[in-house]
């Protein structure tokens, strides 16, 4: 890859992305400089400049991430944790260094971070480990993961299908009951109901940290408190939080946490599961095979401790290394600053959409906390048509149910349009988007 050096002028107004700039708030000037690191943001779509407002679905990659992957294949490509040759050692070092980087990024110990393909696989890993425990796998030490008839699993009504369907399947396999914490008409979790839903039969409470549709942040402390009171495990779907705000797993005090690399400037095919060390080391494996064993006979096998116990087969090495580079990029920019910038963009999105006749924004009203994301309904115009209209102007948004059909049904909708930001989104882009949305109902003749 040819890397074009870009002249960077640091001014007091546009502090650099170095850690020493952690205090200064991000500005459009800095964002414009950040955009130089993302080649795809300079491309044209339908004859106009791309306005990418779909980072909630997948984010774009900075050069440092693309280069990390390329450099691995050019200079270090080898299978990790096996072989005595120099490349294998080099590859293993880079792979494990990436694990330490990503673990550190969320405040975890290195041995508490398991690589997965994505968050979906992380949730399935825990759900299958639990049903394996219910079948007696893992012995006495794994009893706390067991779930069965008379017991229950709790999710919320706003979950992404990834944090719903695996639990439906776990309930069906084990005879446990699947319950949910309901939401009110504005999409807020009904905490008073949570206290009744979570009871002494609850074995797992799984919920999203930041909603991919509503943009709300869950009351983690309250839900974790309720779960801990009854001895239930907790799992946080952090797909929309780890990329956009500072996350410290120890402060959140959850047992498990999952996220996807491609939503945080990394490549597809890589994600991670955080689990408290004593839990991971007691949990039976999900996928089994090579690289996760100690001794194998024709009859049985002994397993490695975490995290390797959960990483069967040849791993996603270049992707893990690239995700490490992504975490470094975010750390150097400063997650507090990213959060602050995106909250301001989110506020601008909601305020602007609220001002357009016939547009209804889902989730919290303007002025209330929300990440840089807004899903909305345009009266008389289907979301697919809204998305097509915006695409014609080079504006990329997500349309549909955003993998949250039950939530949409609860709010009386089948499909909405969602604009989502990232650290490379400018206020100009938000304004371009708002200007386009304001023209949609007239184009379609909506009355």
């Amino acid at each position: 890859m040819t890397v074009v050096a870009k002249p960077v002028t640091l001014t007091p107004d546009s502090a650099g992305t170095g850690a020493d700039s952690a205090g200064a708030a991000m500005t459009d000037a800095e964002v414009h400089r950040i955009r130089n690191d993302f080649p795809i943001l300079g491309t044209e779509v339908n004859g106009t400049r791309l306005v990418y407002l779909d980072s909630g679905a997948t984010s774009q990659n900075p050069l440092s991430v693309l280069e990390a992957e390329q450099e691995f294949y050019e200079q270090r490509n080898a299978a990790v944790h096996r072989g005595a040759h120099a490349l294998a050692v080099d590859a293993t070092d880079a792979y494990e260094e990436a694990r330490a980087t990503v673990a550190g990024f969320i405040g975890a110990r290195t041995d508490e971070l398991v690589w997965t393909s994505n968050a979906t696989e992380g949730i399935n890993l825990v759900a299958y480990a639990m049903s394996n425990a219910a079948l007696g796998r893992g012995g006495e030490a794994a009893r706390r993961f067991s779930v069965g008839p008379g017991e229950n699993i709790v999710v919320t009504e706003m979950e992404h299908h990834a944090n719903l369907v695996p639990w439906q399947e776990l309930a069906a396999r084990t005879g446990a009951e699947l319950r949910f914490v309901p939401i009110d008409d504005d999409g807020a979790l009904r905490l008073e109901s949570a206290a009744a839903v979570i009871d002494h039969g609850t074995r797992m409470v799984a919920f999203s940290h930041a909603s991919n549709v509503l943009g709300t942040i869950a009351p983690v402390a309250e839900l974790v408190g309720l779960a801990q009171e009854v001895g239930a495990l907790t799992l946080l779907d952090a797909c929309q939080s780890v990329p956009h705000l500072p996350v410290d797993v120890k402060a959140l005090d959850v047992d498990f946490l999952v996220f996807s690399g491609h939503k945080m400037l990394g490549p597809t095919g890589i994600g991670a599961l955080y689990g408290r060390a004593e839990l991971l080391n007691a949990m039976p494996p999900f996928l089994t095979g090579g690289s996760m064993i100690t001794t194998v006979t024709m009859e049985r096998a002994e397993y490695l401790p975490a995290p390797n116990r959960f990483e069967a087969g040849t791993q996603r090495i270049s992707q893990a290394i690239a995700l490490g580079a992504a975490a470094n990029y975010l750390r150097e920019t400063g997650m507090e600053r990213v959060e602050d910038w995106e909250m301001r963009l989110g506020e601008r999105l909601v305020t602007g959409l609220d001002a357009i006749a016939g547009v209804r924004v889902l989730g919290p009203a303007a002025g209330l906390p929300r990440i840089g994301l807004a899903a909305f309904d345009v009266d008389g115009v289907h979301a697919h048509d809204v998305g097509q209209f915006l695409d014609d102007r080079g504006i990329a948004v997500r349309v549909g149910h955003h993998c949250a059909q039950p939530l949409h049904r609860r709010l009386g909708l089948t499909a909405t349009t969602r604009a989502s930001t990232y650290l490379y989104t400018t206020t100009d882009e938000v304004d371009t988007f708002l200007d386009a949305v304001a023209r949609i109902r007239a184009f379609f003749g909506a009355r």
């Binding site: 339908n46 004859g47 106009t48 115009v381 289907h382 979301a383 697919h384 048509d385 097509q388 209209f389 014609d392 102007r393 349309v399 549909g400 149910h401 059909q405 949409h408 089948t414 499909a415 184009f443 379609f444 003749g445």
Partner: protein
Amino acid sequence: MGSGLEQLYQQVILDHARARYGSPLQDHTGEGTTGESHQLNPVCGDEITLRVGVRDGVVTALSWDGAGCAISMASASVLTELVQGLPRDEVISLVDSFREVLRSRGRIEADEEVLGDAAAFAGVSRYPARVKCAMLGWVALEESLLAANS
């Protein structure tokens, strides 16, 4: 703005999307035989329930209920106007012609003599993500004709 948008959303399509000829669903049990089909596009949630009445091999009644984008609703409206009173076999070949145009990625021109207002959907063929929207009602028609035949 690219000129593509007006090619996709031609006025006749926008008009049909609002008019929704054939909606809501009616009871056609007075006809010789009836057939019904429900189609759902899981990607966007568009759905349609379409019912036909067939008497002496001719489609004599057609109605539907649906929710979805302008393309899918307009397409169902257009087909309602197009196929009523046509022999069943002719309707089936019409569905085939429509499908052929839509899957052509803009390579096959729509014959207005044959497809009437439905020819306006030729522009959809350049948007692969929207072909299923335009086909929704037509697949429902095809299946309800099969049901009416059995």
